[in-house]
């Protein structure tokens, strides 16, 4: 028995001197070039409280898109902010129509393997009607080609009809 005693051993190798160009007289670490690599799997679950934002997600299940309005300076925040970031006043909930225009977008040809989404994947930055801020989410149902995705195009919030893995996925954008 030898190295096979190590359950999580990945490999044993001889490493090269990465600075060979600076060591004309030989590798100063020549006695330390035996290397091994192990893998370490971590699998655990965190529990996040959504705090004062929670109502936004609860209302998404009722097909309502909520922003917050600052009674102090009048700014409308979408993403909602319970505390106005500009004047630090406690805000009030305000329902928006959920429509807007495309301020920017990025089309990805691949996504990390854990994401259960279609490719090409379109990320949209949207100026929401009735809000003073922008809102980011995925743009779906744009048809057969991403060629139709254009700056300034009208979009709207669409609501999930299937169970989702994150409350934010209760909504996405679609062409209006």
């Amino acid at each position: 028995m030898g190295l096979e005693l190590i359950n999580n051993l990945m490999d044993v190798f001889t490493a090269e001197d990465p600075m060979a160009f600076a060591h004309p007289d030989g590798d100063p670490w020549a006695d330390f070039r035996e290397g091994m690599r192990i893998e370490w799997k971590m699998d655990f679950t965190y529990k996040h409280v959504l705090g004062k934002y929670s109502k936004f997600f609860i209302e998404l299940t009722n097909h309502k898109f909520l922003a917050t309005e600052c009674p102090g300076c009048g700014k409308v925040w979408a993403i909602p902010r319970p505390l106005c970031a500009d004047c630090l006043t406690i805000t009030k909930w305000k329902e928006l129509p959920g429509t807007g225009t495309l301020e920017s977008f990025s089309i990805s040809q691949f996504v990390p393997s854990f994401m259960k989404v279609e490719v090409p994947y379109v990320l949209a930055l949207v100026k929401m009607d009735g809000a003073d801020t922008l809102f980011t989410h995925q743009l779906r149902n744009y048809g057969d080609s991403t060629d139709v995705v254009k700056m300034g195009m009208p979009v709207k919030v669409a609501y999930a009809t299937e169970p989702v893995d994150h409350p934010m996925l209760l909504m996405h954008f679609e062409p209006a």
Partner: protein
């Protein structure tokens, strides 16, 4: 009033996609030893250590500050760790400067590192997003910067074009050929970049930085010691570090306020009125090619919308009137937590006259920039050859 302080020694590791020959503290130690040697001092002359590195989730090793300090031969010294994503390395330098400028310590070591090959960047990047608003659909850094780049290009079309980004990628990879520490040293053309595989529009494969393992370190000393340690120290002349909303949609990513303000603060402190005239070179944190154009404008090195012209006309080339990223920039190596410090090291070396094959002639003042988070952290550091 802050005491004068200067960078008196710098050290870097070879940047590589994978450094199989070292573990994390060994990697950090490599850079630290070189910086201490470069400063011509004994490790025992160091009075305090500041460590900068990215989120623990990158390497899966918690509390790196616990053991990196002693691995540097600095057991017994005060150790502080800075973590602000891409600005971690620059932040560590700034914190080390505070140690010296405050008068509490005379000689301080700042070290930064990242060993991305130990982790799974596509997974760990997704956990960096806000757990409520972004994590459900976040697909990494490139799509976010894709939104930023698309917004920028649309705002300044037709003055700024997609191939201006490609020109940055060509220029910086070519500069990297003179830098023995760079990871990507490539002679490529604008067509190569434009035809490289699409990643997150308008970003293509050659518009992206690589994933890197690497470490960087520098020694900072107060005036009297600095003058003894280095024939031409790089004096801290100006600093600016600003933040803004953690929600990318709440900030103007095409002209970020945090970068504009950090630059203004640094210029004010350094008595700089016309940055492009008074500075000689800039090292900018361009993880993606279009960002060099965006930051060039936000740093006030040209007017908004002029970033494309700066690269197309050759102004920012190695031989140009205002070279940007002579080291090859982040596009040539990105050990994230160290990248901000690497920009400062290049800017300091240019002032010290120690940049080797990528040394520019007669540099008196230089600028180093970094960004972190979802583009909401910005730092600007200005070095000067004269106090």
């Amino acid at each position: 009033m802050a005491r004068a302080a200067a960078v008196v020694g710098t050290g870097q590791t070879r940047y590589a996609n994978r450094r199989d020959d070292v573990n994390i503290p060994e990697l950090a130690r490599e850079a630290a030893s070189r910086a201490i040697e470069d400063a011509g001092i004994d490790p025992r002359d160091i009075e305090a250590v500041v460590i900068g590195s990215g989120p623990e989730v990158f390497e899966g090793v918690n509390r790196p500050d616990l053991w990196v300090g002693s691995a540097l031969g600095q057991a017994g010294r005060p150790v502080t760790r800075i973590q602000t994503g891409g600005t971690s390395g620059a932040g560590a330098t700034i914190a080390a400067f505070y140690h010296v400028a405050s008068g509490l310590h005379d000689v301080v070591l700042a070290v930064s590192y990242e060993k991305l090959s130990d982790g799974i960047p596509s997974y760990s990047f997704s956990t960096l997003s806000d757990p409520f608003w972004d994590r459900g659909f976040s697909s990494g850094a490139a799509p976010l910067v894709g939104l930023q780049s698309c917004q920028y290009l649309a705002r300044h079309a037709p003055k700024v074009r997609e191939d201006h980004g490609a020109m940055v990628a060509v220029k910086n990879r070519k500069n990297a050929m003179r830098n023995p520490y760079a990871q990507l040293q490539m002679e490529i053309t604008v067509d190569d970049v434009m035809n490289s595989s699409p990643v997150a529009s308008p970003i293509k494969a050659l518009d992206c930085c690589p994933l890197s393992d690497g470490a960087a370190a520098l020694v900072i000393a107060e005036e009297r010691r600095a003058k003894k340690m280095a024939s031409r120290p790089a004096w801290f002349a100006g600093l600016g570090a600003c933040s803004e909303s953690p929600y990318a949609p709440n900030i103007d990513m095409a002209y970020p306020e945090s970068c504009v303000r950090a630059a203004q603060l640094a210029y004010q402190m350094a008595w700089i009125y016309d940055p492009v005239r008074e500075l000689d070179v800039a090292e900018i944190f361009e993880a993606f090619s279009f960002q060099e154009l965006i930051w060039t404008e936000a740093l006030g090195l040209c007017n908004p919308g002029e970033g494309g012209r700066m690269v197309e006309s050759g102004v920012t080339a190695m031989e140009g009137e205002f070279p940007i990223n002579p080291s090859g920039g982040v596009l040539s190596a990105n050990p994230i937590g160290a990248s901000g410090m690497i920009r400062q090291i290049e800017a300091a070396m240019q002032v010290m006259g120690k940049a080797g094959a990528h040394q520019l002639p007669g540099v008196r003042k230089s600028l180093a920039h970094s960004w972190g988070g979802v583009v909401q952290f910005s730092t600007v550091t200005i070095f000067a050859g004269e106090l």
